[in-house]
């Protein structure tokens, strides 16, 4: 097991390097000059040139890239933001907790409700409840999240005045954004749970359990759900990864100063170190979540557990 | 009797994460023109892989397959194309072996278009109709799609496709095992009639000992990639020598009352053919196993001119 975890972490390195290279290339070819953007149009040419020198913007493409990567590898230094001159790490962490709070709210709402409604929908296939859930699901997937956010603001903040319109100062601020961010993933989770349950319910071993006289509750929540859980766990894991980097637009709607807002600002200001830093951070977190997903897999499914064990045994 | 196709020391190994898988290990066989060699074995014994190496759908790891005196493994692209016309294959699954997006006519015409054996649309159409007639498909199915047909008719398409290029040799990979008994008998009769008419040589791969007896002239019994017994059909059924062959024959239920009172079974199950231990691969299940069975490679013993067995009991 430990061997597997370490192997996976090592495999992450080339992916992160690849991501940094892709993003660096894109940012490099983006028109505009970070130094000029920072100082504004009124600054003198000399001042701009001096800042450019200071930020190391004058080197060639490869020189700058290897400089950047070298610093990360040798000193663990992700550089400083061109815009604020703070270390990238500080920039990311002062913003990250907002995004994390939003993502966690969303993931809890979407997973809990999604799995519950999904099971209900599958167990009572073709019933009224199933039809209603399916219709709501369809509606949720068809809605752009920013529009849903706007509608929720109009209803709950403007008309009913029960929740704040925007900001991130208190926990109430995260209710509307949380639901908005959850909507799409909720729909996906319901769909996936439903189809996975329906597929598993048709398996021979479920029929065998029924033929043994196992009570229906036990058949559904024991024999079926445990097997149907696999794709759902994957989906929740993937959703979580996407949530961390995918709330950009919702942060804009609700004025939350999270990592998404930071990235948009940084792209506009050509603040390359922050952009790359943010995304590598998100990618790293997503990979950790994937790893956790695989560990949960091994916990649920003895076949997968056995794979890790035999691998270890063969090597030992 | 001229040998149409024969193999010498044919081997096919696959690399797997757990080591070398010996799918086909040192097989020597001959098939005369117009005759049938039955290849029998349980699942995982390498019989399908053997069939595919016979027409070079898979390249052999070692050894040679000689067709009309030439080694097919040395053929270049052009020679391969010529060889395709001589050697064809009928596949096991009448569902997955037929392209669902092509009509019956297109399916049967495909090999002839690819190999350019016919000139002109008219001739092609005529030939397809003639083939459909040969395998017993009514002309009204000409424009049908496979999903409209049942397994038996689909398998007839497979037979027609294999015959389209007028081959001399056809590998039949379990052509009836996916079919119901009554349909199975129809296809078996068809295959036997076609052999008589066209002097086809078959390699008939199956796990069903009663089917193979019915259709074959010679039989090869395989166990974990190796040939363990090789004989004329009558000889094999009257006088099975290898303990595994005996066990196989013993295991078939006979549809007659009182045909067999005591079912004698061999214990254990097939091991995996990955990195097999030296010696007889059947030894772990064999009731007669002796210490020497485990040590060295088992030699093939020629019992009569047409009967070989690989077992230490006959040393």
């Amino acid at each position: 097991m430990y061997r597997m975890i370490i192997k996976r972490l090592i495999m992450l390195i080339p992916v992160l390097l690849g991501i940094s290279f892709i993003l660096f290339t894109i940012m490099y070819f983006t028109p505009g000059d970070a130094a000029r953007l920072l100082l504004g149009d009124s600054a003198s040419e000399e001042a701009v040139e001096a800042l450019r020198e200071q930020l190391g913007l004058n080197g060639g493409f490869f020189e700058r890239y290897f400089d950047y990567i070298g610093n990360i590898i040798l000193h663990g230094d992700f550089g400083i933001s061109y815009r604020t001159r703070n270390p990238v790490f500080t920039e990311v962490f002062t913003r990250f907790h907002y995004t994390l709070r939003l993502a966690l709210t969303a993931i809890i709402i979407s997973s809990v409700l999604g799995v519950l409604f999904g099971i209900l929908s599958a167990v009572r296939q073709y019933s009224i409840a199933d039809n209603v859930i399916t219709a709501v699901t369809l509606f949720l997937t068809s809605m752009p999240d920013f529009w849903l956010g706007m509608m929720l603001i109009i209803i709950f903040a403007v008309n009913l005045k029960v929740l704040p319109i925007s900001g991130a100062s208190s926990w109430e601020c995260f209710i509307l954004p949380g639901f908005t961010a959850a909507a799409n993933y909720l729909a996906n989770t319901i769909r996936m749970t439903r189809s996975s349950m329906l597929e598993t319910i048709r398996m021979d071993y479920v029929r065998t359990a029924r033929a043994k006289g196992v009570p229906e509750k036990k058949v559904i929540f024991g024999h079926t759900l445990k097997n149907a859980l696999m794709p759902i766990v994957t989906l929740v894991g993937v959703n979580m990864g996407w949530q961390l980097g995918g709330t950009i637009i919702i942060e804009q709607v609700f004025g939350i100063p999270g990592i998404g807002s930071l990235m948009i600002q940084s792209i506009r200001m050509k603040d390359t170190p922050v952009v790359i830093g943010c995304i590598m951070f998100i990618a790293f977190l997503s990979s950790l979540i994937n790893l956790a997903t695989d560990i949960i897999y091994a916990y649920i499914d003895p076949r997968i557990r056995a794979q890790y064990v035999t691998k270890k045994a063969v090597k030992a | 009797m001229s040998d149409l196709i024969y193999t010498k020391g044919l081997k096919k190994y696959f690399k797997t994460p757990r080591g070398m898988l010996h799918a086909v290990d040192d097989i020597n066989l001959t098939i005369p023109a117009g005759k049938t060699l039955g290849v029998v074995g349980e699942s995982g014994c390498g019989k399908s892989t053997l069939g595919r190496t016979m027409i070079r759908l898979i390249d052999a790891t070692e050894g040679s397959v000689m067709f009309e005196g030439k080694d097919i493994n040395t053929f270049n692209k052009k020679e391969m194309k010529e060889f395709c016309k001589e050697a064809q294959m009928i596949f096991q699954d009448p569902y997955s072996s037929i392209n669902p997006r092509m009509s019956v006519a297109q399916l049967i015409a495909e090999p002839m278009i690819v190999c350019k054996t016919v000139s002109g649309k008219k001739e092609l159409e005529e030939r397809v109709k003639q083939l459909m007639d040969t395998v017993g498909l009514a002309p009204r199915f000409y424009y049908s799609y496979p999903h409209e047909l049942d397994g038996g008719r689909r398998q007839r398409i497979g037979v027609a496709r294999a015959l389209a290029l007028d081959p001399k040799f056809v590998v039949c990979d379990e052509p009836v095992s996916a079919l119901d008994v009554s349909i199975q008998a129809q296809i078996l009769n068809l295959l036997m009639d076609l052999q008589d008419q066209h002097q086809l040589a078959y390699m008939f791969i199956t796990h069903d000992l009663s089917v193979v007896k019915h259709i074959s002239h010679r039989i090869m019994v395989m166990y974990l990639g190796e040939c363990i017994e090789y004989a004329e059909t009558d000889e094999l059924y009257e006088n099975p020598l290898h303990p595994y062959t005996k066990a196989l024959l013993n295991a078939i239920p006979i549809p007659q009352l009182g045909a067999k009172k005591n079912i004698e079974t061999i214990s254990g199950e097939l091991k995996s053919p990955i990195e097999p231990a030296p010696g007889c691969r059947f030894a772990p299940r064999c009731p007669y196993a002796k210490p020497e069975c485990m040590n060295e490679k088992i030699r093939e013993i020629q019992i009569t001119p047409t009967h070989k067995v690989a077992c230490t009991l006959y040393y």
Binding site: L138, I248, R268 | T134
Partner: protein
Amino acid sequence: MMAKSKNIAVSPNEETHEVKRRGQIAQIWFRFRKNKMAFAGLIIFGLLVLVAATAPLYLNFERDVIQQNIMDRFQGPSAEHIFGTDQFGRDIFKRVLWGARVSMSVGIGVVVVSLGGGAILGSISGYFGGMLDNVIMRICDMFLAIPGTLLAIALVSAFGNSIPNLMLALGISTMPKMSRIVRSSVLTLKNQEFIEAARSCGTSNARIIIRHILPNAIGPIIVEGTLSVARSIISVASMSFIGLGIQPPNPEWGAMLSEAKTQMINYPYLVYAPGISIVLTVMSLTLIGDGLRDALDPKMKN
């Protein structure tokens, strides 16, 4: 050699028993039509396309859609302006109608880019396998690790803000996912026995891909394409919403919502019409896609 032989083993009822015969397309259409929701989706989408395609016949782009009438600003819904007017006094109904043109064409453009690239990469990767497959898939993995919206934002900033660049940016950011879908469907097909059967009579790789793999893979690809147009329309709207997509005064639905954002607290009706248009379009496409999936493969239905 192949002498004309008499019928062997044709069953006696072979000639008399009539089978149900229907062409393949007709059969898919038959199953699709039986699915009420999907059929409703098709009708809605058909109407929307009709409206979008004929918009220039009854609307003048400059006069009806772009021109500002400050005198008429912020008029609530009325008989004259069904959906009211915006902050520049333009009729929202007319802008929404014209917006259908923009949203749909850009959405389809995005899918053409991502599906085109994805189909080529995915089929090469799936069919030939080996090193090539490894390289393509590892690169896809890297792109997949970057949040899609963000990648699109970065790409638009790099390419410069224009409609073709937007399509390219969104197309590239969804291409890795598309490649994976195409690759997996090619991989499943590649291992089917009928591909082996084709190879056994010396069929060339090109012919196998064109004659045998593509016709079988096309169904799932069309389904994925339809659903992907739906998603792209949302992505385009999102990009426009944060100001990196289609620029005002061009009446794309997302851009309209972006303009409405600052006013919505006082004039919430600005938000309704463009949003509902998006929902309607996306929903109809989703219904069509799901319906097609069931019609193409009845076994998958549940």
